[in-house]
């Protein structure tokens, strides 16, 4: 069965439990919007699923194969971290060539938002420009499940639209878990919205639920 299945994730930092027996599943075609207040454990959860952070307990299975390490998640799960991750000493063209398959690399290099920056090093770009490029690169990666941490952070409206369009265009054959504080854009693109609160995950049906659960202020 094609599915990213995440189960029994418990994470403690010292005496504080951040994640308590988390269950999450994502199928190709789904975009799961993961919301939560600062410090609720969204980033930690994504890093645990990806394999970059250890948890006290965890079970991650991709299309029937259990994933226990970063090496095993290669080409199965891709992760866009919260902060810029393109190597600052490489120009964008080289970074794209290294990261992507040849056919995808050509598509990305032809993208009219990326093209102007191809010969510049990532450290020469603004934070928003880097964020846009990184998001498009990760979304186009060969992995079937994509974890995206704050893709809209510091990004201008035109780039936000391009990011949303790209995620939605890949959603037919990939599963996405996207987290951001820009809840309007998250709600707009997600097929399911979940709220991470007090270490657990709650299903969100509409924006009123976000108010009721104290994620949004009462209007």
């Amino acid at each position: 069965m094609r599915e990213l299945h995440v189960d029994s994730i418990c994470k403690w930092f010292g005496q504080t439990q951040i994640l308590s027996d988390i269950f999450l599943s994502c199928k190709p075609g789904e975009i799961i919007g993961l919301l939560g207040r600062n410090g609720s454990g969204k980033t930690t959860l994504l890093k645990i699923i990806f394999g970059a952070v250890e948890a006290q307990t965890k079970f991650v299975r991709v299309n029937g194969s259990v994933i226990n390490s970063l090496v095993q998640s290669k080409n199965k799960i891709a992760y866009l971290p919260q902060n810029n991750f393109l190597p600052s000493h490489l120009n964008i063209k080289n970074a794209i060539t290294l990261f992507s398959a040849a056919s995808t690399s050509r598509v990305l290099q032809e993208n009219h938002f990326i093209k102007p920056f191809l010969n510049r090093k990532s450290r020469e770009l603004s934070g928003g420009e880097r964020r846009m490029i990184e998001t498009l690169v990760v979304v186009n990666s060969p992995a079937e499940y994509i974890l995206i941490d704050e893709p809209f952070n510091g990004v201008e409206p035109l780039y936000k639209e391009e990011i949303k369009k790209t995620i939605q265009s890949h959603a037919s054959d990939k599963g996405f878990i996207v987290t951001d504080h820009d809840y309007r854009n998250i709600v707009a693109i997600s097929t399911k919205v979940k709220l991470l609160q007090h270490g657990g995950i709650k299903e969100i049906k509409n924006v009123d639920d976000l108010v009721r659960l104290n994620y949004l202020p009462e209007l």
């Binding site: 990806f50 080409n75 991750f85």
Partner: protein
């Protein structure tokens, strides 16, 4: 994978060289009075992991995720640094 490791190591080449030569010079003038080229050879054994730690762990920790996404773990990247610098250090010592 090889091209990714080359890209990862490119960032370390100049700092590692400078630190290894620094260790060689320090060894000659301050501690062991060994020839600078020999000290530099030994310096590479230390300089590689040290620059790796400072540049990637402390200054650019997020860049690890670029390589993680391609299946390269920290263990593999540290092993590549150690192997490369043992090789360069060994070659330097053999010509010294």
């Amino acid at each position: 994978m090889f091209s990714l490791i080359i890209a990862f190591q490119r960032k370390l080449v100049i700092p590692t060289f400078c630190l290894a030569v620094g260790i060689g010079i320090a060894g000659y003038f301050m501690v062991w009075s060994t020839p600078i080229d020999q000290g530099t050879g030994f310096g590479y054994f230390l300089a590689g992991p040290i620059t790796h730690y400072f540049i990637y762990e402390l200054r650019n920790e997020n860049e690890y995720y670029f390589y993680f996404n391609k299946g390269l773990s920290k263990t593999i990247l540290y092993c590549s640094t150690c192997t490369l610098n043992i090789l360069i250090g060994g070659l330097t010592l053999s010509y010294a």
